[in-house]
């Protein structure tokens, strides 16, 4: 009986640890009118307590989660050209820009676009990692989120490390 209780407590503690480590950085609701008026990106959310990054092995290559739920199953969503522009912006920023420099892209066909801003660069083991803020909008809907990307010195470009926590969608506008 004692063993069973101990087992249950251990299980709960492990689950708690697992959940806390799964916590990523939820996308922020952004007022696009304010961003356009002030011509300034919102503050990145990496300073909040929930900004805990978890690596999943060597990270994933480019992944649809970069679009922060602007996906076809939850409209509005980006078309192929816009997705390509955002991918170009992310990789261009990661490989070429200094921290806090901003690269923007604009849709050719509608009021949509995005901005990418590397905010922190550091080394872990033999990897170069960069935290960066991505900001995306389609019409009045705008979202901002902090991501992490790492690349090995001998590797094949940046890979992305991030986990979202269940229920993060409710923070999307």
């Amino acid at each position: 009986m004692e063993d069973m209780k101990l087992f249950q407590i251990t299980l709960v503690l492990i689950s708690f640890l697992f959940l806390t480590n799964c916590v990523g950085v939820a996308p922020q609701k952004i007022n696009i009118d304010k961003v356009k008026k002030e011509r300034k990106l919102p503050e990145p959310n990496f300073l909040t307590p929930e900004a805990i990054y978890v690596t999943s092995g060597n990270g994933d290559p480019w992944y649809p989660r970069q679009f922060m739920d602007f996906r076809f199953w939850s409209p509005p969503f980006f078309n192929k050209n816009e997705e390509r522009q955002h991918k170009d912006a992310v990789y261009m920023a990661l490989e070429n820009l200094k921290d806090f420099k901003i690269v923007s892209w604009y849709s050719e066909t509608r009021d949509a676009g995005g901005k990418v801003r590397p905010i922190f660069t550091y080394e872990i083991n033999s990897s170069l990692c960069r935290d960066y803020q991505a900001f995306l909008y389609i019409g009045k809907k705008a979202r901002s989120k902090t991501f992490t990307a790492c690349k090995f010195a001998f590797g094949n470009g940046f890979h992305f490390n991030y986990w979202d926590w269940p229920g993060a969608e409710k923070y999307l506008n």
Binding site: W62, D88, A89, Y91, E95, I102, V103, E108, G157, F158
Partner: protein, 101 residues
């Protein structure tokens, strides 16, 4: 018998090139600072069509290709993306110019 004549030379590498003739004034001074000679030299500068409208309009300082490493299936590929550095210090991606380097 067929005779063919073309008055233009075509090369794949020359497509989309933007060329500009710039004049440089070269002055030579002696030890006393006196001008010994002065001459104008014309230099032809060509690039791959990087003179973008943002640069022409004076909105961007410089437009150029930026390279980055990504994957195509299981292969590692060098991509390139055209972006302009604007006067405010930010950068802008120019659509339809990106591709594999």
């Amino acid at each position: 018998m067929w005779l063919a004549y073309f008055d233009q030379a075509h090369s794949k590498n020359q497509e989309n090139q933007y060329c500009d003739i710039k004049t440089k004034l070269i002055k030579t001074f002696d030890d006393n600072g006196k001008v010994i000679s002065e001459k104008n030299v014309e230099v032809v500068e060509c690039n791959d069509g990087l003179k973008h409208i943002l640069q022409d309009a004076g909105i961007a300082k410089e437009c150029r290709f930026y390279t980055w490493t990504g994957s195509l299936g299981y292969e590692t590929v060098q991509y390139r993306t055209l972006a302009c550095e604007k006067l405010d210090g930010g950068y802008e991606i120019i659509p339809n110019y990106s591709g594999i380097d």
